[in-house]
Symmetry: C2
Subunit: 287 residues, 2 copies
C-alpha cells in the first residue's frame, strides 16, 4: 500500500481480504474509537488544523510538478450518509483543493462508452482531494442487482476496476474506499424522517422503496464487490454508519492517515530567494 493506515480506526475498518459477510459487521459500532458522541465530534473537529495543513502541502506540491492526489470513494445504500460525510468531513478542508464528483444514473452519452469513461473524466487533478459520491462501483452493484449489464460484463468489470485503480496508484493517486454500512432498520428510520419533514421531502424518491425491496440482493452484490476489489493498493473500509458522528470521524481519520502517510513536504524555492528579497526591498518597481 502507498499509504499505510496506522490508526486504530483504520485498522479496525480495513477488510482482511477473502469472503465478506456484511451481516457479521455491526452497523452501530464505533470500532477503534474509545469514546461517545461528544468525544467523536470533538475528535473530528480537532483534526481540522492538521488536515488543513497537510492539504495545503499537497496543493503546494503540485506547483513543483508532483502528480500526487487523493481519491475518496463513498459507496453505500440510500441514506447511508454520503452527503453527510461531504458536509461534515470534507467540509473541514479548503474547498479550493476539493473536487466532488457525483455519479447518478448514466446519461445516454455515458452509456455509449465503457463504464469507466465517465469515471476517468471525474478524477481529481494533481494536488486535489477528489471525492466520488457513488462511483464505478455502481456498475457492479445496481448493474448486477438490476441486470443492467450482462453477467459476463459485470464479471469483467471487477478486473477492469482493479486494473484502473492499480494504474491510478502508479500515477500518484492514494485511493480511500469507504462502504458506509447501515442497517435496514436504520434506513427505514431515516426514510421515515424524510417523509415526516417537509424540508426533507426533496431528498425522498418513491423509487427509494423499490431499491430497498432489493436490500438482500444489494448486500450480496456489495459482498462480492468488496471481496473482488479489495487490493493492497486500494483496500476497502467498511464504515459502521448508523452513528453519523462515527461515520464522519472515521472517514476523517482515514483521510488524515492517508495524508500523513504521504510525508508531504513544502516544495523548495526554484528561484533565488535572497535575490528576490533584495529586488523587492531595494528595487521595488512601484514608486
Amino acid at each position: 500500500m502507498t499509504s499505510p493506515a496506522t490508526s486504530p480506526i483504520a485498522d479496525a475498518l480495513r477488510l482482511d481480504g477473502g469472503p465478506v459477510d456484511l451481516t457479521a459487521i455491526e452497523t452501530d459500532a464505533a470500532p477503534g474509537f474509545d469514546g461517545r458522541k461528544a468525544d467523536g465530534v470533538a475528535a473530528l473537529a480537532a483534526m481540522a488544523p492538521e488536515l488543513g495543513d497537510l492539504q495545503e502541502r499537497l496543493w503546494a506540491e503540485r506547483t513543483a510538478g508532483s502528480q500526487r492526489r487523493v481519491l475518496v470513494v463513498l459507496q453505500g445504500m440510500d441514506t447511508s450518509g454520503k452527503g453527510g460525510v461531504l458536509r461534515h468531513t470534507i467540509g473541514l478542508v479548503d474547498p479550493q483543493g476539493v473536487r466532488v464528483t457525483s455519479f447518478k444514473a448514466p446519461t445516454e452519452e455515458e452509456r455509449a462508452h465503457d463504464f469507466l469513461w465517465r469515471i476517468e473524466r471525474g478524477l481529481p487533478a494533481p494536488g486535489y482531494i477528489g471525492v466520488f459520491d457513488r462511483s464505478h462501483y455502481e456498475d457492479v452493484l445496481i448493474a448486477r442487482v438490476r441486470g443492467l449489464a450482462e453477467p459476463e460484463e459485470v464479471e469483467r468489470r471487477y478486473g477492469a476496476i482493479n486494473e484502473l485503480e492499480a494504474r491510478l496508484v502508479d500515477e500518484g493517486f492514494s485511493i480511500i474506499k469507504c462502504m458506509l454500512h447501515i442497517s435496514a432498520d436504520e434506513q427505514k428510520e431515516r426514510l421515515a424522517e424524510r417523509l415526516a419533514n417537509p424540508e426533507k421531502h426533496w431528498k425522498y424518491n418513491p423509487g427509494d422503496l423499490d431499491e430497498r425491496a432489493l436490500w438482500p440482493a444489494y448486500r450480496e452484490a456489495y459482498e462480492i464487490a468488496l471481496e473482488r476489489t479489495h487490493t493492497d493498493h486500494a483496500p476497502w473500509h467498511v464504515v459502521p454508519s448508523d452513528k453519523k458522528w462515527f461515520r464522519n470521524l472515521a472517514v476523517g481519520q482515514l483521510l488524515l492517515d492517508t495524508l500523513r502517510g504521504l510525508d508531504l513536504q513544502w516544495p523548495a524555492a526554484d528561484f533565488d530567494v535572497a535575490a528576490e528579497t533584495r529586488r523587492l526591498a531595494e528595487e521595488d518597481p512601484v514608486r
Copy 2:
C-alpha cells in the same frame, strides 16, 4: 437587479456607476461594519448556519427543476486574497454544492477559441455556488496591460462580457462580482512575507514582481473594466482587502445578501407523502 443587496456592507461596497478612481477608495477600511477584527471574525462565523441553510435550499430547488445558481467572481492583484476568501468564506458552506474554477494563463486550446469559451465551460450548474478565482476579466486586464490582444479586440470584450452576464442572469444566475482591493504597500508586505517563510515559497513567483512593476497600468485597466462592466444585473463591489478579516466578512455578506434575495423555498413533494409513509410503515419490503 435580481438580488438587491440591502446590508450596509453591500451598500458601501457596490459601485455607483460612472468613472472609477481606485485611488479614492481606501484599501484598509471596513465600510458598513461597525466593529474590529474580533467582531468581524465572529460575525462571519455567525453567518455559517444561515448560509448553510440557504445553500441547501438552493441545492434542493434544483431537484425540482430550478435553474438558479450563484456565481462569485473574485478578481484582484496578486496576494489580494482570492485564496483566503475561498478558504475562510466559501469554506463555510457544503463543498458538495460548491464549484471552484481557477483561471490561469490560457492553454493553447483555450487560445484557439473566443475568450469566453473557457468561461462558459467553467460555469456552475443549477443549484451550485460557483466561484471564479480570476475570470473573464483577465481578458480585459492583463490582456490590456500586456497587449495580449489588439486594442479593438479588448474594446469588443467589454460588451461581450456584459452580454454574457446579462444572458446568464436571464438563465437563473445571480452574479456577485468582487474586486479585492489592496494597496501597493500591502502587496509589498505580503510578498516579503512569502519570501521570508519557506512554507510560502511555493506561492511566490519572480514574475510577480514584473507584474507589480505594472501596478499603475493595472489600476487603470481595473478602473476602465469596472466602469464598463458595472451593470444593474451584475454590479461590481470593490472590497477593501488590506484587512483580511474584513475581506472575508464582506464577501460572506454579499453571498448571504444574494441568497436571502432569492427567497428560496423547500420544494414541495412531487409524490403522495401519506401513501409513501404508509407504504414504508406497513408494506416494508425488507423483512
